[in-house]
């Protein structure tokens, strides 16, 4: 049935490990991954819990397609309550860790409580056990991974861990796996750190999940492979240039946020774009996650000999144009450093950008820099210095920046300079140029995020069809459909990028053949809707309100000053009411009883 049928519960307080049966009735309603983990989490955790207390839990969850031969089936999710946003967190990652976890016989791991001293979870052929992590505590992500692989003596084992940022409870710390793959957002790494849980290492032989209907599954996989090969994005754009193929597109479209969203076009984009990474010869080869024919990952070597992965589009932008930095080497090094420290690249870059604006406007006093360089837009020296400071929690500013852009800007009396939604830093598209994407940003259950409703696809990339980025009427419908479908993709264990080539019908065929379900496409979209509403309910109980479904004031009130969208602001006031209505929510953004009953959440 493509599930292993087992989940592992790890009580870190007592050191007790228990294997439990996967609740199949819930798996039918929530699939797995993001959906099922959120359901289990909501059933077990009080939404008002302090996210960094032992009462919070952290779930690592694969989906029914993780580890199968479905293309891009290497994904897993980290679900918890976010210490950054106070909302539900669910961060997705690729690489090989997720499929390895299934090889080891577990769909899900639930961590609860807090260990009295740093530990890591080792899952090997002898079974799971908790091990003293003294040898790796304090080490960066790469070194931790290396030491643990040595320790278990299996170079094919897979490691998910936190770096110094997570140990220091930075609210923008990520969980890293396979060294450079990140469950990056919402501070999930801090929750691991708060539990004294440094890492999970899984050593297991390949144990391919058994699908319900092997013949049917094989046939749909073949269809998927053909579609991925046919589609120009998945067969050419992403493999050749990676996600950084977007730099020039988004800049030309006048929505490439520069200098903390003060500008929307970056004059030096040609120096830092995906094309530049290739033409300067830094890109050595592409890299793929488990079972992925697309291979959008970048193996990079810089002229100074430093090697690493990326930067991806988002990271290259946040550590580049957002901070006005046009030195591709400095940007790439900053990206490597974030991966080593276990810091979310989007949040780290946007936090530095906020610090730069605070400093340049005189709100952040010079004495707070201590010995650090001046926080000027364009300073690659400041970029490197403050990433290290925030990742290791050093100095006045390092400590403040480790809490993310909102808390930093608020501490200087100017929260409006934090480009955040629900206190989480915004990604690389100025919503004044893309109205649908802005609505998706404002309504994200996990705060500022672009992947849970990637409206850039139709609004800018003309994929699957072109819709006018400034048109308003159709946007709530598009946003809801994209949000619901993404919830499905995140829950089944595939990569969102597969959706450039695949549609809801194919996902449904894959899931049905793998799990033995007989869902229609409408049923599948209802599952997505159910997951979205469940997350929303958690947030409401955690204290979030309609006032949190908003964008930074700058994006709502300050018109763009250049480019094709000159004069535009974001029209959230016109988009939010019809979106709430379409969702079946009242005017305060609360799901109606009728809606909840229809979704089985009443």
């Amino acid at each position: 049935m493509s599930y292993t049928g087992k989940m592992l519960r790890v009580d870190l307080t007592t050191g007790t490990l228990t294997t439990e049966a996967l609740p199949m009735d819930l798996a039918r309603q929530y699939l797995g991954g993001r959906g099922l983990a959120t359901k289990l989490f909501c059933d077990e955790v009080d939404p008002t819990v302090d996210a960094l207390s032992p009462d919070n839990k952290l779930i690592m969850a694969t989906g029914p397609l993780t580890g199968t031969s479905a293309p891009t089936g290497g994904r897993y999710m980290v679900v918890t309550k976010s210490p950054l946003t106070g909302a539900i967190a669910s961060s997705n990652s690729g690489g090989f860790f997720g499929s390895k976890l299934k090889d080891a016989g577990f769909d899900i791991i639930i961590f609860e409580g807090k260990a009295s001293k740093p530990v890591y979870l080792k899952i090997s052929k002898e079974g799971p056990n908790l091990v003293d992590a003294a040898v790796v505590w304090g080490q960066d992500v790469y070194e931790t991974t290396r030491l643990l692989l040595d320790e278990v003596g299996d170079k094919n084992a897979k490691v998910a861990c936190i770096g110094p940022a997570g140990e220091h409870l930075s609210l923008i710390a990520s969980v890293m796996n396979d060294k450079a793959r990140a469950a990056g957002r919402s501070g999930v790494g801090a929750v691991m750190g708060s539990k004294n849980l440094k890492a999970v290492i899984v050593s297991a032989d390949r144990n391919k999940p058994v699908v319900a209907d092997e013949e049917a599954f094989k046939a749909v996989v073949k269809v998927c492979q053909a579609k991925i090969k046919e589609d120009a994005v998945t067969s050419q754009g992403l493999p050749t240039y990676g996600t950084k193929v977007l730099d020039n597109i988004i800049n030309s479209s006048g929505m490439y946020p520069t200098n903390n969203f003060q500008l929307c076009m970056f004059k030096d984009v040609g120096e830092v774009s995906g094309e530049a990474l290739v033409e300067k010869g830094y890109l050595k080869k592409r890299k793929a996650c488990f079972g992925c024919p697309i291979g959008c990952g970048r193996d990079v070597e810089l002229p100074n000999g430093k090697k690493g992965e990326g930067p991806e589009y988002e990271s290259g932008w946040s550590l580049g144009a957002a901070c006005g930095v046009s030195d591709l080497i400095a940007i790439s090094e900053a990206n490597f450093m974030c991966n080593e420290l276990g810091l979310d690249t989007i949040s780290a870059g946007v936090t530095i950008a906020a610090a730069m604006e605070l400093y340049e406007k005189g709100f952040l006093p010079k004495e707070d820099l201590e010995k650090g360089p001046e926080l000027r837009f364009g300073s690659s020296e400041a970029l490197g210095y403050y990433i290290k400071a925030m990742g290791t929690n050093q100095g006045i500013l390092g400590k403040k920046m480790a809490q993310g852009a909102y808390r930093l800007a608020d501490s200087y009396g100017h929260p409006e300079l934090a480009m955040c939604v629900k206190k989480q830093e915004l990604p690389a598209y100025d919503p004044r140029g893309v109205q649908g994407q802005g609505l998706a940003y404002a309504t994200q259950n996990r705060g500022g995020c672009h992947v849970r409703g990637y409206l850039i696809a139709p609004e800018i990339l003309a994929h699957p069809q072109a819709i006018d980025p400034q048109e308003l009427e159709s946007k709530p419908t598009w946003v809801k459909a994209f949000q619901d479908l993404t919830a499905v993709i995140d829950s089944c264990g595939l990569c969102l990028f597969s959706s450039f080539a695949l549609g809801a019908e194919v996902y449904n065929d894959l899931i049905n053949a793998a799990t033995g379900s007989t869902n229609s496409v409408d049923d599948l979209m209802t599952i997505g809707d159910r997951i979205w509403n469940l997350e929303k309910l958690f947030n409401i109980k955690a204290g979030l309100t309609a006032a949190d479904d908003t964008l930074p004031k700058r994006l709502l009130e300050e018109p763009l000053t250049e480019g094709p969208n000159k004069g535009q602001v974001h029209h959230l006031d016109q988009l939010l009411p019809p979106y709430y209505k379409l969702r079946g929510w009242d005017t305060k953004g609360i799901p109606t009883q009728e809606k909840l009953l229809a979704l089985g959440l009443g």
């Binding site: 589609d231 754009g237 050749t240 950084k244």
Partner: protein, 93 residues
């Protein structure tokens, strides 16, 4: 008048240049511009951008940052003081 066309991503690889200049007597349509750019680079460029009479799915022809699909399509008039950019289908996030 000189109109400069900028190429990105795979189009840079296939044409071997990052931009090309074409000379015209005045404003021309996007369709005419593609023909002239083909003559200056390679004949296959047209097939890279168009599928019969239509712009290929995901291909972006931008005039001052605006997709011609939201202007007059291939009949959109272009001239020398505009920034013209051609992108093959791209994606990411």
């Amino acid at each position: 008048m000189i109109i400069r066309v900028h190429f990105y991503a795979m189009l840079r690889m296939t044409t071997g240049v990052s931009s090309v200049e074409v000379e015209t007597d005045g404003p021309i349509t996007m369709r005419q511009l593609i023909d002239l750019a083909c003559q200056k680079t390679r004949p296959q460029l047209k097939g890279d951008l168009l599928e019969g009479p239509q712009i290929k799915k995901g291909t972006l022809l931008l005039v001052d940052g605006r997709n011609v699909l939201f202007l007059d399509g291939l009949d959109t008039m272009v001239q020398g003081d505009q920034v013209i950019a051609f992108f093959p289908p791209g994606g990411g996030g």
